[in-house]
Amino acid sequence: MSDLRDLYQEVILDHSKRPRNFHAMAAANRRAEGYNPLCGDRETVYLELEGDVLRDVSFQGAGCAISTASASMMTESVKGKTRAEADALFARFHELITGKGEPQAGPELGKLAVFSGVREYPVRVKCATLPWHTLKAALQGEAEPVSTEAEGPPAESGGA
């Protein structure tokens, strides 16, 4: 059994209480909205894309501690990276929080390794990936809000 502190690590709590890059961006040339119906989380990711480089990234919205911290740390991690590097980072991050066996963070994940505890909480995977899916949508220039519905166990859509 994993301890709650493995999920809610200090770094995560810190970012959820004081999210970084938490503002709208006037200079943004890409923008996407993400929605997680399970939590009711809504996040907007703003992106200033310069050629192939994510010059600046910010976000706004209301979400649970995991999704807010994930968004905050994502903006820090991908700033200045190329699209390909950001995609690769998401792939590694996704593997970290959904993979089987011992989590292998690897140096390229950097601070994002604190999310390794999420794998013990399958219903929370969507919270951590919401900002990443939203960033991806912003990069692809998708107009429709993205949902995390394809991720993990079915989200709340029925029941009482």
């Binding site: 059994m1 709650l4 999920l7 809610y8 709590l13 209480k17 119906p37 399970l38 939590c39 009711g40 989380d41 809504r42 209301a62 979400g63 649970c64 501690a65 995991i66 909480y121 929370r124 919270c127 709340e156 859509s157 029925g158 029941g159 009482a160």
Partner: protein, 420 residues
């Protein structure tokens, strides 16, 4: 079927409510979650099952299982008798006039869809209106929306006030000559508000408009008398009344049901079939096409026996005490706000915590063994009404205790310690 007797003082009038004896009937309540005793406070989503219900379902398959209403053989006759007996138990449970008024369905959701697709399609036309309230569960919104879309009709919504109550006068103002049906919850799953459905039925009937009542949350929590309410339809689900999933009841006044077109076509709902014409069976079978959930239906009857033996009035009093106690305990927590403060409430307590998202509350409580629901509770319009993305919701059952409320309060304090 051999009935499992309900032992000792649980149901005896005049005796104390023996919650410990009741708890012993529910094997799952002995479960440990992450090494901690399970505190199950998600009864509004689904209730746990007593041994009597588990045994009843198993015994059907072990002793008297066959298809019903079909065979001349011994097993079929016995299975049919047991299934019919369950229908009689359901009739008594809501005090319907006759068993023909008790349609077995998969659950409350199917009951709403059945009425929307039969009564609704026959009576709601272009420009007509279906009136609901602002605190309905999605299952009492979407079937009407589908109907209105198909017919070019309009869904109108009686507002809820800040406390989460529905003022019958506000509902009355929305009744127009185009209103063809009023559909309201008896008890709100998101806020715990008890609606004045008797008054609502009176108001609607004064205009000649029939009333559908979604009783999914009320049926396990208070005595229901459809004749006293004088509603035209009443629906509830077995799984919330401590019975199996996949069974539920649609009550309808016989005259209305008789005049309604059938819902689904198939076996059991017909009297005779030729390629030229089919004549339909009598009530309730006209609305029950195909082989039903036989064992589930019989076990549902056992669940109704179980709660009836305890007494719904006693269950209501017990849950009222828990709700009042929990309200006091939670209100004392700094930064906690109860959502839904109507004067008439039952069994359901929704709340939010300053600075902590409900989903995080749910995860921390879970690690303390406390099972609650977090999210929009399939009532997104209610959440929108309060400008909330979600709430945390504790909902009580007949087996919950004050000590479990204390465990809930202690776990919430742990959440605060972690996030502040």
């Amino acid at each position: 079927m051999s009935a499992v007797p309900i032992a000792d003082s649980r149901g005896a009038p005049g005796t104390a409510y023996d919650v410990e004896a009741i708890r012993r009937d529910f094997p799952i309540l002995a479960t440990k979650v992450y090494g901690k005793p399970l505190v199950y406070l998600d009864n509004a989503a689904s209730a746990q099952k007593p041994q009597q219900v588990i045994d009843a379902e198993r015994e059907v398959y072990e002793r008297c299982y066959a298809n019903i209403h079909r065979g001349v053989h011994w097993l079929s006759v016995h299975a049919t008798d047991a299934y019919d007996a369950a229908r009689e138990k359901a009739r008594r449970f809501v005090n319907a006039r006759e068993t023909g008024e008790i349609i077995f369905v998969r659950g409350t959701t199917e009951a709403v869809n059945l009425v929307a697709q039969t009564y609704g399609r026959a009576h709601v036309g272009a420009g007509d209106e279906v009136l609901i309230t602002g605190l309905e569960h999605h299952s009492n919104i979407v079937p009407w929306q589908l109907l209105c879309e198909e017919k070019g009709a309009r869904l109108t919504v009686a507002p809820i006030d800040d406390a989460g109550a529905v003022d019958p006068a506000a509902l009355e103002r929305l009744l127009t000559p185009r209103t063809k049906l009023v559909s309201v919850a008896h008890l709100s799953n998101a806020l715990g508000t008890v609606l004045p459905i008797r008054r609502i039925a009176e108001i609607a009937h004064a205009r000649g408009v029939p009333v559908f009542v979604d009783g999914a949350q009320a049926a396990p929590r208070m005595p229901v008398d459809v004749q006293e309410i004088d509603c035209d339809f009443y629906a509830f689900s077995s799984h919330k009344v401590y019975g199996p999933t996949g069974v539920g009841v649609l009550y309808g006044k016989a005259a209305l049901l008789d005049a309604m077109p059938p819902y689904q076509g198939g076996g059991d709902m017909i009297r005779s079939v030729t390629f030229e014409k089919t004549t339909f069976n009598a009530l309730p079978y006209k609305f029950e096409a195909g082989t039903p959930n036989i064992a589930g239906g019989i076990a549902f009857g056992a669940a109704l026996d179980y709660v009836t033996a305890i007494g719904l009035d006693r269950v209501a009093a017990h849950e009222h005490d828990l709700l009042a106690y929990a309200t006091g305990q939670l209100e004392a927590i700094d930064g906690l706000r109860i959502v839904g403060t109507a004067r008439e409430k039952a069994g359901v307590l929704s709340f939010v915590l300053d600075g902590v998202h409900p989903h995080d509350i749910g995860t921390v409580l879970d690690r303390e063994g406390v099972a609650i629901r977090t999210g929009h509770h399939c009532a997104q319009p209610v959440m929108d009404r309060y400008g909330l993305p979600a709430t945390a919701r504790a909902s009580f059952g007949l087996y919950n205790t004050r000590a479990e409320v204390d465990a809930l309060a202690a776990a919430i304090r742990k959440v605060i310690g972690m996030f502040r």
